[in-house]
Amino acid sequence: MSTAETTWISGPVLRARPDGAFRLRESVTVGDQALLGEVIRIARDEITVQLYEDTSGLRPGIEVTGSGRLLSIRLGPAILAGIFDGLLRPIADIADPYVKPGMQVQAARRFHFTPSVCVGDPLMPGAAIGEVANGTGIAQRCLVPADLPGGRVTAIADAGEYPDDQPICWIDAADGRHLAVAMTHAWPVRVPRPVQARLPSDEPMLTGQRVIDCLFPVARGGTGAIPGGFGTGKTVLLETVGKWCNADVIVYVGCGERGNEMAGLLAEFSELEDPRSGRPLLERTVVIANTSNMPVSAREASIYTGITVAEYFRDQGMNVTLMADSTSRWAEALREVSGRLGELPGEAGYPAYLSSRLADFYERAARVRTLGGETGSVTLLGAVSPPSGDFSEPVTTHTRRYVGSLWGLDAKRAQARFYPAIHPLQSYSLVAGNLARWWHNTGCTRWQELRRRFLTLLEDEARLERMARIIGRDAMPARQRLVLICAQLINECFLRQSAYSMNDRYASPSRQAVMMRLIGSFIEGSERLLDAGVAPEAIRDQPVFRRLMRMGEEIEEGDWEAFSALDQELTATIRRLLNEAREGGEE
């Protein structure tokens, strides 16, 4: 290993005189505490190192030791259901409740391994050699590291428990080397893990949130961003999606945000059950927490740590959803590192490569055929925290260029406690067209048509509201007043969905479809009534309107009878009003 002697230190950056060669982005350890750092600049006679920990007490003369490797994490069965800092060091041990410098990486643990290959079998890089159980109910695969050449199995461990860092499979590689494979392997976080092919994505990543799934859906392997000022609901939305979405594994990266939020998330995720497996949600989750008061430099790395972990599960043939809260804090960490290097600042002080870093990040989302020949996906959702809630700032504008779905949060809606505060006119989904077939095949044949109808109504509403502000609601023609009433119904009962309501926090595709249809029937019915001369307000004042407004809150998942009763009540009400109008007309 190369070493270097510290000559200068200030804050989280040190310079050192190297003895031996260092690589750019090589990970290093410093001093007796083995503080972790990364080489961020090299010259012939000096290296510059950024440290990921508190540097109090360091002084010139202290030794820097190279690792010979780019900044890497160890991937293996111990990760699932774990909670880590930004460099994948476990922080579950709370004998000492404080984060202190010199924390250690995950120690070796024993897991049960069941081989799936035999001596003599050919093996490609990335192929599975067996299954590992870590007690979560999710079977994990053990993979040949993708950066090893293929070869033939010369020996394989029998089923049984082994330490995860010891070899369990031996391979004669095609290039003549003899290789040993363990349950864990290291991977450099900034290097995307290779795949056989990227696949088109025509299946939705269902979130259980109506405004997303029905109006602005995201595809498996797709990307979504949530820009919004403080307190508009980014974190709650990401957490809610984390709870109810149909992914196999969730990677939640808390990047420069609050400690209490992470504590709340851990508490909730260990109590709630995954509706599909019946096991605690935490068991399908990996939490990477680098809160705002933890060292800033590790914040930058935490995003890459998260996405590498996500790719690792994808390569086992799973559908993974990663949430990053917040990508703006990551961008700010980039800005700080760049400032320390004396790079020329660009827009708002961010380095000129901000845009390409964001592009690289979102590019790592995909639905793929893995090296092992399976199908897996990584869906990326990122919160964006624009200063002053102003969406024209660099991180928001660049992110907008790279994501397939955007859910813009509106401060006004949030202030009126209208959650999720996703503004329909500030949001989009580029993939809605591709997903229409899926909804059609699941039996919701009118999904695309009703989606358009809702969006048009919401657009009209915005226009008419402006008008109402000038001339007053009562002065508007009946047809326009009806548009406002229909839009109110869509907003209040369909788009609004409290994350804290037992009944409504999650909506299955069938429940979403039923609600969509009911609203559709109301719109069509009340238009007929309008044609028959019934005033929109008379329709709104019917008891069935209140029942419709509150159906999300009041009718629980799976209670189809209640929905069809409501449907009948609606039909009856419309028929009655129609009859009354006809009779009134005849008199």
């Binding site: 200030s10 540097t55 202190k100 209490n260 102003d390 000038i470 007053g472 609601r473």
Partner: protein, 471 residues
């Protein structure tokens, strides 16, 4: 701080702004605290900001005017700045760097804590979920505070935030008998405040008897900028000691964080750093987080640290970096309003932009009252509609309004006059809730989408028939 590890004489070579450059003749480490004693006997605090093979860069935490190089002695403490605390903290008054201002004896220094604190592992945190009553309806009913939360007050110049701070300090209480059983204390830090305000705080707390359960830190406007950065850190160190060693529930009131941020900007500029928005340093978010994130609870420990930081928004602008970055770190915000203040509404809290994010965990069945969440949600929804109607009425005139709209207008006025406004008297939560239901009674049932049928029946209809209508 009396235990210097090493002493260097005649090692100062150069002074520049707040920086002092020393020759590195002693083996000292980054961030170590130092004391610089001038030839005239004056003592200044500093910390080691950078080191190379030949020299030590010290950042002075006190004003450097008058500093000389000849004859200065530098004492090194071998560790970052610490605050020595022990029993007997309550009732005491300190300056911004922990020196007694009340003429009392020095503290029994049983523990020495780094004033910067250490980040709590997210896993070691207990999610806050216990209600803390402030006596203000706009907070207790509408934006409930829970123990371990950080909930700032966004104010503006000339608004009565000092009064509110004192009222909260005097009226805040834990529900039931928790207060006696577990102990409740206030840590109050004035940061860069004028002498008059400092006196006001001290007198008011003394008058109400709250001083006995309070630790007061006073950093005056005339103290140095660098000390301003330390004042909240000393206060929070004291709070953490009371909470996690003595097991008390501690409410920390910090005022005024705007002065803190100005000091941060000043120090950053004097270091020659590249400024970010409005001249504030790019790391202001992270720096503020090291203060605000010190609120919380720790698993397995009895106490809690709750924070109410107060800041004045320059120009009443909520998008200014100080409130903006604060809002991105804290768990909600309480916003004061000039218009309400002009109308003599006290506390003049503007509810729509106010928010308590941890409210949901601290209220409802088994915590406050089962119908508390729905009541607050309905009040919010109706009040926000009333506000919109007010705008509409401003354009088309009240005559152009429908009946329901007029009811909403009335509700809005009622809400501000009877619910937000409460004058000098503290209200218990039960009183606040009663005021809430009574405000809703004027609204048409069709507007009450956030209440279920039972709630409407129990709280609105039954009572409305039982009671005489207000004439």
């Amino acid at each position: 701080m009396t235990y210097a590890r090493l002493v260097g004489e005649e090692i100062a070579n150069r002074a520049e702004g707040p920086l002092l450059f020393l020759s590195r003749s002693l083996d000292v480490g980054l961030n170590e605290a130092v004391e610089v004693e001038g030839a005239d006997g004056s003592v200044r605090l500093g910390r080691i900001a950078a080191l190379d093979e030949d020299s030590i860069t010290v950042e002075m935490l006190d004003d450097t005017a008058g500093l000389t190089l000849q004859g200065t002695r530098v004492r090194f403490f071998g560790e970052p700045l610490r605050f020595h605390v022990g029993p007997g903290l309550l009732g005491r008054v300190f300056n911004g760097i922990g020196k007694p201002l009340d003429g009392g004896p020095p503290l029994a220094a049983e523990h020495a804590y780094r004033v910067d604190g250490l980040p709590i592992k997210p896993t070691a945190r207990e999610a806050p979920s216990e209600f803390l009553e402030t006596g203000f309806t706009s907070i207790d009913l509408m934006n409930s505070l829970v123990r371990g939360q950080k909930l700032p007050l966004f104010s503006g110049g000339g608004l009565p935030h000092d009064r509110i701070a004192v009222d909260i300090a005097c009226n805040a209480r834990l529900p039931g008998d928790t207060q006696e059983a577990e102990g409740f204390a206030i840590v109050f830090a004035g940061i860069g405040i004028p002498h008059d305000s400092a006196e006001f705080f001290r007198e008011e707390m003394e008058k109400s008897g709250a001083l006995a359960r309070t630790v007061l830190f006073l950093n005056l406007a005339s103290d140095s900028s660098a000390q301003r950065l330390l004042a909240p850190r000393f206060a929070l160190t004291a709070a953490e000691y009371l909470a996690f060693i003595e097991g008390m529930h501690v409410l920390v009131i910090l005022t005024d964080l705007t002065n803190y941020c100005e000091a941060l900007r000043e120090v950053s500029a004097s270091r020659g750093e590249v400024p970010s928005r409005k001249g504030y340093p790019g790391y202001m978010y992270s720096d503020l987080a090291t203060l605000y994130e010190r609120a919380g609870r720790i698993r397995g420990k009895p106490g809690s640290v709750t924070q109410i930081p107060i800041l004045t928004m320059p120009n009443d602008d909520i998008t200014h970096p100080i409130p903006d970055l604060t809002g991105y770190i804290t768990e909600g915000q309480i916003v004061l309003d000039r218009d309400l203040h002009r109308r003599d509404i006290y506390p003049p809290i503007r509810l729509l932009p106010s928010l308590s994010r941890l409210m949901k965990d601290g209220i409802g069945k088994g915590r406050t009252h089962a119908d508390h969440p729905a009541l607050a949600a309905q009040l919010y929804a109706s009040y926000s509609q009333a506000q919109q109607t007010r705008v509409l009425a401003g354009v088309v005139g009240e005559d152009g309004l429908s009946d329901d709209d007029r009811k909403l207008l009335l509700f809005g006025d009622d809400f501000e006059q009877k619910l937000i406004h409460q004058g000098v008297d503290a209200r218990a939560l039960e009183e606040s809730m009663a005021a809430g239901w009574s405000a809703l009674r004027g609204l048409p049932a069709g507007e009450l989408h956030r209440l279920d049928d039972r709630q409407i029946r129990e709280h609105l209809l039954d009572r409305a028939t039982r009671r005489e209508p207000v004439s």
